[in-house]
């Protein structure tokens, strides 16, 4: 019975992988995809930074045990993955290399290079390779040169590498310290980093964290000064609130002040009090922090990228729900090897696959009846597990944070005289909810 049971679980997982990932990756017509089907190489957890809010920093060994992060194994597994994709004539829409700090790891550089080589001559190739980086490589000129060579190569072979700069800004520096406390980011570092960002059209993605939230107005001005100095457009900044449990009521209040400031700054400093331009920017283009509550959605049930990706923990070829939830008990299963090649899949927690890939954030317990369920960026499953013990149970403080965010956006739009026009700029499937919540918030305020 046990053998048959396992066989059946494997069959469900394999069927899902084929339908959800392999078939789209093989397809020539990417438009038929309901939404992006990407591939994340969860490379490792090695990182010179000790970011206060970072899950790899806090829970790294549980998410990715160090004993499965040997460089030779990682490289060998990368070769197997690429061989499998080539053999099956498939290419994910995009690759993402996720690690603590990819560019200070020789093996990760090599894995990215291998990916470029593997698809260089292919008719079917990924559209891009994304690499989030803390810009640790900027401290080493020879590494900068190597990164640039890799980026040049990526463009030559038609799979451009896009970096995203994990820099939290001068005024939030203590949130993102180096583990080696003798290393500091100074003005010289930042000028080098912003110059590099300008050259390669790289945006910043600072995290809005509870600690030092009171500094964010100054931090914002600092970012914009740097952008101006280096010729980077004002909007090349992806803001995301850290949805960890530790937000205090006072910090949430400060967060609200920053949201209010950000909208006003955009309205006055960027768009010279042009309501239409401001609203179009906020709801359709602009800073993720403001926009993410109102995203139209593109077939996904979650507003994070969870359902867009196959997340592969490279060290043991484990398919995991995401890099934030790669705890042992949530591993869907592992790709199995025969004669050094990927050949099949062995399930572990395959029961969780349909739940993760089909879920809608607004269906989570408590969200079901929540007033802002259609306007909420929703909790992070990994953070929810770490705080509540359940992937799907929202964190009350994060609920408060998101309520305050939505309410502040509405109140600020009202304060600036933008609220009446706002609805027209909101994606159609969010308008009704926006109207409902606005009426509720503004009537309560008045």
């Amino acid at each position: 019975m046990t053998e048959e049971f396992k066989k059946e679980n494997d069959a469900v997982a394999e069927s899902f992988i084929k339908r959800y990932f392999i078939d789209p990756w093989k397809s020539d017509d990417r438009k038929v995809w309901e939404h992006s089907r990407n591939f994340e190489v969860f490379f490792g957890t090695k990182c010179p930074f000790g970011c206060k809010y970072c899950y790899l920093n806090r829970k790294g060994d549980d998410l990715y045990p160090t004993d499965i992060q040997r460089d030779d194994v990682l490289i060998a597994n990368m070769a197997k993955v690429l061989e499998w994709m080539k053999r099956e004539n498939m290419a994910p829409k995009g690759f993402l290399f996720f690690s603590g700090e990819p560019f200070v790891q020789e093996a990760c550089m090599k894995a990215i290079d291998m990916t470029l080589d593997a698809f260089a001559e292919s008719e079917k190739k990924p559209e891009q390779i994304t690499v989030p980086t803390g810009f640790g490589f900027m401290f080493y000129p020879e590494m900068v040169e190597r990164v640039e060579k890799l980026m040049e190569k990526s463009r030559r072979v038609g799979i451009p590498i896009h970096l995203s700069a994990s820099i939290d800004g001068k005024h939030c520096e203590p949130n993102r310290p180096f583990k080696d406390q003798t290393i500091k980011r100074d003005d010289e570092f930042y000028d080098k980093a912003f110059s590099f960002m300008a050259k390669w059209k790289i945006g910043a993605h600072p995290m809005i964290y509870s600690d030092l939230i009171e500094n964010w107005k100054d931090n914002w001005k600092w970012f914009q000064e740097k952008f101006l100095k280096h010729g980077i457009p004002f909007y090349k900044i992806y803001l995301l609130e850290v949805r960890n449990a530790e937000w205090s009521p006072d910090q949430i209040g400060r967060f609200s002040e920053f949201i209010d400031f950000l909208i006003e700054w955009t309205y006055e400093k960027v768009f010279n009090k042009n309501a239409d331009h401001t609203l179009d920017f906020i709801f359709n283009h602009g800073f993720n922090l403001l926009r993410n509550s109102f995203l139209e959605g593109d077939g996904r049930g979650m507003k994070c990228a969870l359902q867009d990706y196959m997340f592969l923990r490279l060290g043991d070829l484990a398919w995991v729900p995401c890099h934030r939830t790669s705890y042992d008990q949530f591993i869907f299963g592992r790709f199995i090897e025969k004669n050094g090649k990927i050949d099949g899949f062995s399930s572990d927690n395959s029961d969780l696959i349909p739940a993760i890939y089909s879920m809608k954030g607004e269906d989570m317990p408590y969200c079901e009846n929540c007033a802002i369920r259609d306007l909420c960026v929703q909790g992070c499953l990994g953070s929810q597990y770490e705080a509540t013990g359940d992937l799907f149970s929202p964190i009350p403080t994060v609920c408060e944070l998101e309520h305050v965010k939505v309410f502040t956006i509405i109140k600020t739009l009202k304060r600036l005289g933008l609220i009446d026009k706002a609805t027209a700029y909101i994606p159609e499937n969010r308008r009704k909810a926006f109207k409902r919540v606005s009426d509720m918030v503004l009537n309560t305020v008045n």
């Binding site: 059946e8 679980n9 042992d328 927690n349 739940a355 879920m359 269906d363 408590y366 149970s393």
Partner: protein, 426 residues
């Protein structure tokens, strides 16, 4: 949240070793039992229960293994329970029916304190089942003991309800042809008639419908197991009888009007209306023992017996960290209650998870293909499963989330069993 119920661990060892028991027997259980006994005698378990669940308890259930072996201690502790939980009106326990003598004085004492008692007696049917699953002679001994209890309690003023808890393994179901199914139901009819005749007290009632057979859970069920279960239900229905699932389905429709906003009435109250308490808090009695390292090691070593897909150290560690709240940590209790309240109160996620899993299983031929073609049928199935057959503890052990039901349960019910039950309702 105000708890009204408790499940208290009162015993850690058992004289029996029933074939389907969810508690594998390991050598260290004698030590666990001694610890449990101390916690009853020094009353620390009741104090922990108060810290975890508050003083508003109206119902207490005795769980662990066989409570009959500690009935003398429990009888002595009735005043303590009444003192700590002044609203206590009801005590229940589940027994294998191996002995009547320890139970009789307990029920009398409870009655004198104004406490009603419910006794669930594990009896699986005639000798060809009970004697095989439980112990030799069970089919005669257990009903005789119940008769003895009933006869001895002709004067109690409080209410006593006795119900049967028949559990069938899949093998039992497969082996039961039409005549054996008739024999099964005839057996309970005869036993009920005899006990009802022996009963001279209007305060004592035998729950006759409780003879409906329930399947052994959890299980690593395959599609073929589901087909066998469906065939068993079909045969039971053909004899004009009902299974526990049939009864649940009738209840499901009866409650339809109210259940949408009150899922928890359809489910057990684990972590919601009741708290389970041993050395610390537990989801329910089924998770007792999981806080003991030696026990877990021994049980994992014989893991096939536990019929849980993901039973390993990591899962147990997760269970301990998140689902065994510390009685002295209010924050931990609040967190635990938040998760369990979410599980019990809300249903959209459970329904959508079950629907998604059922569709995946249907696509690979592991449940009825009808689910792919009929969204209403799929929804009805998911609603039924999410309320009437949804066990948070089993979900956690198998999928690591209370909110995700394992494939096993869906295969078991989705290969004709649900269709058979629906047919009967129609």
């Amino acid at each position: 949240m105000q708890f009204t119920g408790l499940e208290i661990m009162v015993a850690g060892t058992c004289p029996l070793n029933c074939s389907y028991c969810y508690i594998p027997k390991t050598p260290g259980m004698d030590r666990i039992h001694r610890d449990v006994l101390v916690s009853l005698e020094d009353e620390s378990v009741f104090k922990r229960a108060f810290n975890l669940a508050g003083g508003g308890i109206e119902n207490i259930g005795f769980w662990g293994t066989e409570p009959a072996i500690v009935m003398d201690v429990l009888t002595d502790k009735i005043p303590t329970m009444k003192r700590i939980f002044p609203l206590l009106r009801h005590i229940s326990f589940s027994t294998s029916g191996i002995a009547a003598d320890p139970i009789i004085p307990f029920v009398k004492a409870a009655s004198r304190s104004g406490i009603n008692v419910n006794i669930q007696v594990s009896l699986d049917g005639p000798d060809f089942i009970s004697d095989v699953n439980r112990f030799s002679g069970a089919a005669d001994i257990v009903p005789n003991n119940v008769k003895k209890i009933v006869s001895a309690l002709k004067d109690i003023q409080a209410k006593l309800v006795i119900n049967w808890k028949p559990t069938l393994t899949l093998q039992n179901m497969k082996e039961m042809d039409d005549s054996k199914i008739r024999e099964y139901f005839d057996f309970f009819k005869r036993v009920n008639t005899e006990i009802i005749s022996a009963n001279k007290n209007p305060n004592i009632r035998i729950a006759e419908h409780s003879a409906a057979p329930t399947p052994m859970l959890p299980g690593k069920y395959t599609a073929l197991d589901g087909v066998a279960f469906a065939e068993f239900i079909r045969r039971v229905h053909a004899t004009g009888n009902r299974t526990a699932h049939t009864i649940k389905m009738i209840d499901f429709f009866r409650r339809t009007a109210e259940f949408k906003n009150d899922k928890k009435r359809m489910m057990c109250g684990a972590g919601n209306s009741f708290m389970a308490v041993g050395g610390r808090g537990f989801i329910c009695h089924r998770s007792f023992f999981f806080d003991d390292d030696d026990y877990v090691d021994a049980a994992i070593a014989g893991t096939d017996e536990w019929l849980v897909a993901k039973l390993n150290r990591k899962t147990v560690e997760m269970l301990r960290k998140w689902y065994m709240p510390d009685p002295d940590d209010k924050g931990d209790i609040e967190r635990y209650l938040h998760v369990m309240e979410g599980f019990h109160r809300f249903n959209k996620l459970a329904v959508s998870n079950i629907e998604a899993a059922t569709l995946e299983l249907a696509m690979v031929g592991q449940v009825d293909r009808e689910f792919l073609d009929d969204p209403v049928y799929l929804r009805l199935f998911a609603l039924f499963m999410s309320t009437a057959s949804n066990c948070p503890f089993e979900n956690i052990l198998n999928t690591s989330s209370a909110n995700v039901m394992p494939f096993s349960m869906i295969r078991f019910h989705g290969n004709g069993a649900f269709r058979e039950v629906i047919k009967t309702i129609r």
